[in-house]
Symmetry: C2
DNA sequence: GCTCGAATTGACCGGCCGGCCAGTTAATGC
DNA sequence: GCATTAACTGGCCGGCCGGTCAATTCGAGC
């Protein structure tokens, strides 16, 4: 098989990290036990302590790895160079929505860290948000977005809507008349994109 | 003091329920212990089992009580009779936002139940959402809201945005340029209300 | 005033928890 | 080939976990 001859500390480390991540994400920090993680990674409990020191340190390491993967992927999707602002924003929303849809473990990771009051995740994607907000601001200057809203709040609005859509799926999936992922995304985009159109042609109210 | 003469099972029950709720909401089901709850309610651990049977049953009872309080309050705020649809919706968003702001324990309760995959909360407020969606539909018929979006998705959009704003506060509070509660609510309402205006006067795109 | 059931207590159970430690095994550098 | 270091193991520790149980204390109905 693909078994390493005898020892491979790096592989061992990553096996532990993977098993730990999926268990922590599934059951939460308190309810996941070192014994389960050991069993899940085919390794002794003592060895986990050897590599990571403590349960907390292991959780931190698992979070950090997941965050890095997340930030890397999101950064890659932001690179899109020369689309006009509206299409860029629409694509950003769709990309983020689909990313979460394909990575439920990231959604749960965020949920756990929010309950913990963890701040490392906020620092991690602050740069991404800054970049997105900057693009919105450019759109405002170009006159394609209304300029009476904080660009960061524009990004925040779609990020929290998409995130919570998946986080609270078990909750609102039971609401009468609610549609599937694509139907909601479509309706959300309609409201969101229209809501950002510049002031002027319609009655000013806000 | 206000100590009951000697025994008062109802009061005891509610004391246990209150202590359990705040501990569960703070630390989560797995990390809150019956011993802590006993200490927090000034009661023996055995007595909790006498009244509730098990830790799971206690958690269920605590959730149910909180849900009832939540649904009752939200129902009361929906009663507003005769406002025009736009003002009604705007008031609904503001009320919900402020309610969450004043009840962080409800926000955490939702977060825990979402991670558990709990479905009882969705059933609980399904009727509220149905009522809200019905009002939106009436606004669509009256021509004050665009009619090419699912009314339930309109309600869902503002509910999940408000909920996640508070749920993920520790996360996005670190984002550069982000404002406080009122600033975000104001910007969100601008985008949301404008996004719902009827089609026609502007370029149709979606 | 007695009785019967519910409220309440404290001691106790087996089991799992995270962590530690002494010992063994394998790779690495000389 | 031999010493040194790191990877890795199994067993053990004290402590906390949820739950049980027999024993008490009280209150309500007769």
């Amino acid at each position: 098989m693909n078994e390493p001859a005898t020892r491979d500390p790096d592989l061992t480390r990553s096996r532990i990290l993977d098993a730990a991540f999926s268990l922590f994400v599934e059951k939460g920090f308190a309810d996941a036990s070192m014994r389960e993680i050991a069993a899940g990674s085919g390794v002794t409990k003592s060895l986990i302590h050897h590599h990571f020191g403590s349960k907390e340190a292991l959780w931190d390491a698992a979070k950090e790895q997941a965050f890095e993967l997340y930030a890397e992927r999101q950064r890659a999707e932001l690179e899109d160079p020369s689309l006009p602002p509206r299409e860029l924003l629409r694509a950003g929303v769709e990309n983020y929505f689909r990313f979460l849809s394909e990575h439920p473990e990231i959604v749960r990771l965020f949920a756990w860290t929010h309950l913990e009051g963890d701040t490392s995740c906020g620092q991690m994607d602050a740069e991404l948000v800054r970049l997105g907000a900057e693009r919105v601001r450019q759109g405002q200057e170009a006159g394609v977005f209304r300029d009476d809203v904080n660009p960061t709040h524009v990004v925040t609005t779609f990020v929290i809507a998409c995130t919570h859509w998946f986080e609270a799926r078990s909750h609102h999936s039971q609401w009468p008349g609610i549609g599937d992922d694509e139907a909601f995304l479509s309706d959300f985009l309609k409201i969101f994109m229209r809501g950002l159109e510049p002031t002027g042609s319609r009655d000013p109210e806000d």
